[in-house]
């Protein structure tokens, strides 16, 4: 009997596994490319490192992946962080200014930058926790101000980066694989370990599920939120540094513009509910990959840039639909009927 139960459990868990749906979306994008241009998948070795669209998906998607990882935690606590794009700009600007203008070594500039970005995230958290301001509004403030701060840091200039160590962050390869990918993998591993090997993940989920009850269960929701917002800020700062490194310049005006939407999109596509509670770090990574694959596909298909948002919308809503029980039931009914008819 217990075996039978196990069987039903595992069967159920496959269908209910939220990772299935971003994967399905990804499969769709892959299928589209297989039909329209299989060269999309060709990966070769050039100058001793891997070269091809598949590599680009990861190296270009690294920034959104970092943002999405932090955003996942924030959303899990029932919040949202709109300021990540602006914090990216600050991160890039600060690190570049420290290295280029003030002559700091990267080993010093990078930790300082991350600290600062973390502090900004902490400020968001403090407004949510202590100020009891709704997260959208609390982080909207930094979203507006952040770009101004970045402009101040660079004196409204684009800072050019020549420091080889700095550039390595964006352009280096280890074992033929882009450094940024290693970085994301490392961040993901550390976070996943911290969250699943300790009880942090569960506590975050509890706070997001029922904050009031979490207080009665002795969870310090405030402190958790502060940590989570700070982490999100620091990761956004790191994403900004990566962005600067990959184009050899920190542009306070345009870096991270609208990236907050991408990050939120990646998180939710990845199966984390916007209402908080259960979250899936790996799902968010998949969501970011889907997003980047979609962008590249649109480039490749030569879809006019102005119209590109339309297919993007269709994918967003499509993946949403796949996640909906009702829709799945309808589809399977249609398939059943079709099966019976034939």
């Amino acid at each position: 009997m217990s075996k039978a139960m196990e069987a039903t459990v595992s069967k159920k868990s496959l269908r209910d596994n939220p990772l299935v749906w971003p994967l399905a979306g990804l499969a769709l994008v892959v299928a589209f490319n297989l039909v329209t241009g299989p060269e999309f998948f060709s990966v070769s070795v050039r100058d001793g490192h891997l070269y091809g669209n598949l590599v680009d998906i990861f190296s270009q998607g690294a920034r959104v992946m970092l943002l999405a990882l932090g955003m996942t935690l924030v959303i899990a606590t029932g919040g949202v962080d709109l300021s990540v794009g602006a914090v990216m700009a600050i991160g890039g600007a600060l690190c570049a200014t420290l290295v280029t203008q003030l002559g700091y070594g990267l080993y010093l500039a990078l930790p300082l930058t991350l600290l600062m970005a973390g502090a900004l995230g902490f400020f968001n958290g403090a407004m949510v926790v202590a100020g009891r301001i709704q997260p959208i509004i609390a982080t909207l403030i930094l979203m507006v101000a952040g770009r101004g701060v970045a402009l101040l840091i660079t004196d409204s200039d684009v800072v050019k980066i020549q420091d080889p160590a700095f550039l390595y962050l964006g352009k280096g390869y280890i074992l033929g694989v882009p450094f940024s990918l290693w970085l994301v993998a490392a961040v993901f591993t550390v976070m996943a370990l911290l969250i699943r090997k300790t009880a942090l993940g569960l506590l975050i989920e509890a706070v997001g599920d029922n904050e009031h009850a979490s207080r009665f269960s002795g969870i310090e929701a405030g402190r958790l939120k502060l940590i989570v917002y700070a982490v999100c800020g620091a990761l956004a700062g790191m994403a900004g540094v990566l962005d600067a490194a990959s184009v050899s310049a920190a542009d306070p005006m345009r870096v991270g513009e609208l990236k907050e939407l991408d990050a939120i999109f990646a998180v939710v596509i990845g199966g984390t509910a916007l209402t908080g509670g259960r979250f899936l770090l790996f799902g968010s990574i998949l969501g970011a990959i889907l997003l980047q694959a979609l962008t590249l596909t649109l480039y490749n298909a030569g879809v006019p840039a102005a119209v590109a948002p339309v297919p993007k919308a269709i994918v967003i809503v499509g993946v949403c639909l796949l996640q909906s029980d009702r829709f799945r039931k309808q589809i399977s009914n249609i398939i059943k009927i079709g099966g019976k008819a034939s």
């Binding site: 709109l82 100020g131 009891r132 301001i133 709704q134 959208i136 509004i137 909207l140 403030i141 930094l142 979203m143 507006v144 101000a145 770009r147 101004g148 701060v149 402009l151 101040l152 409204s156 939407l261 939120i264 999109f265 939710v268 596509i269 509910a273 916007l274 209402t275 006019p304 102005a306 119209v307 590109a308 948002p309 339309v310 993007k312 919308a313 269709i314 967003i316 809503v317 949403c320 639909l321 996640q323 909906s324 029980d325 009702r326 829709f327």
Partner: protein, 318 residues
Amino acid sequence: MKISLRSNPLYATIGVLASLFAVASFSYEGFFSLRVIANLFTDSSFLGVTALGMTVVILSKGIDLSVGSVIGFTTILVAYLVQDAGVSVPVAWGIALVVGVLFGAAMGALIVVYDLPSFLVTLGGLFFAKGMGFVISSSSIGIQNEFYDAVVGIQIQVGPGAYLGAGALAFILFFVFCLYLLKWTRFGRYVYAVGGNEDSARLMGLPVDRVKIGVYAFNGFCSAFAGILTTLYMGSGNPLTGVGMELDAIAAVVIGGTLLTGGIGGATGTLLGVLTFAVIQTILNFDGRFKPAFLRIAIAALLLGFILTQRALARGKE
């Protein structure tokens, strides 16, 4: 008769708004005038209409990110119809409003029927409407039309040099309509009910699904209406219009005391929130000393100050 708790946050908003206005009046020459006050309404007519629609959505515990794009789409649609397709203005407006309602209803249906998060569906709506706007035309289309000129020419003088234009009048009338809708009609009360607790509303036998679809359809109408007001304000259509407006609208609604968790708040607060936004912008224009970098920081600082004061006042009252 005791004062209802409900209006407490409003007092705070009114207080802060009034003091902001007072300080600015002392600091800037020519600030304290009927003209500036009238301008507040004219300048925020389209943001106001959008924010009113957003209020209804947020009251029902939803969110609609598509409003900015729908506004942009509407402006270019109207401009195209009037200017390039030779459709008469009222018909063009009618088409735009119908399209807005249908678009909103379609998003609402997706949200309700498939139980999808409103954030994502309307994010999809944002991208879709944005892309479709560019499909009509990627550059702005100016509207040269007698009917338009006539409508723009409607102005009610409320003081020396102070006029309420057609947009402002439409905004004020629409505000009154929303007040009525939310306080006096079944739909309005059901919106509060759904926002308060959807499950309960269902158990109480309220037509939750229809209300929710109605909310998004209504907001689609508001966006299209705001788009039309924008064409009046700018005399042109442009797919780029309205970018980021969704956040302004949400901010105005929340500043006005409506909770993002649904069920609490209302149109009056939103009017105050919109005016606050307009006052902050006017102050910055009157001051005009900021470098672009400081400008953003100044806006944020003013917003922060406003929200914190409002919080403090509201808490003091508790």
